[in-house]
Subunit: 104 residues, 2 copies
DNA sequence: ATGATACATAAGTGAATGCTTATATGTTGT
DNA sequence: ACAACATATAAGCATTCACTTATGTATCAT
């Protein structure tokens, strides 16, 4: 189940910060490691988990593999999260209608 | 870190379905167990984890403890998720402005 | 072809996770 | 006070997780 893959992927803080980095633009695995104190295999394993969750997609570019955020996973969270719109703070209640549209 | 507690809490499918049940209205621990094939201690442990993540709040009512969705945790996910609005599908792009408001 | 570089995969390990059974705590009715 | 009920906590155990080291695969430059 993809929903399970997504939440398991996001449960790890290292993977969340990788994902966050990619939200600022695509990067290859080596670039992602910069300033992160993480081994090459560990990064590769994290990326595989994010990929399986469709939170991230890969595109080979020669020796490098460029990673970027995959809207598929993001959309899936959006849909899951839309179920809880009733509990957002009052000032965001205006979102309701748009999100209701999204459910269809 | 609360963000970590939230994502770890949601990583378990049993906890997500408990959370989902509560989104349809507050229930006590016994009611939550109905139709779930889960032991009493397991339910109690799951609720403790959801409570720590501020996804759920408790309110004692006599012998029972009524649980309901806590907007604090939900709001926190909303804020985290707002960072990735750029990757939502195009037809939801209209949400941008409202969510931008939310960031402040 | 050969070496260097970028990344993936395999196998092993300690720590965390979700369950179990047993027991404790808190509340109600008698 | 006491039994019954609702929930929480403790301790133990099997599985999962995130890492490690070692090795494999793919691409580039010479």
């Amino acid at each position: 189940m993809i929903e399970n893959d997504i939440f398991r992927a996001l449960a790890d803080p290292t993977r969340r910060s990788i994902f966050e980095k990619l939200a600022n633009g695509g990067k290859n695995a080596s670039e992602l490691r910069q300033g992160m104190e993480i081994s090459q295999p560990a990064m590769s394993q994290h990326l595989a988990i994010l990929r399986k969750a469709q939170l991230v997609r890969e595109e080979r570019q020669g020796r490098f593999v460029n990673y970027s955020v995959d809207p598929k996973g993001v959309t899936h969270i959006a849909q899951w999260f839309a179920k809880y719109r009733a509990f957002w703070p009052a000032r965001v209640e205006a979102l309701k209608d748009l999100l209701k549209e999204m459910d269809q």
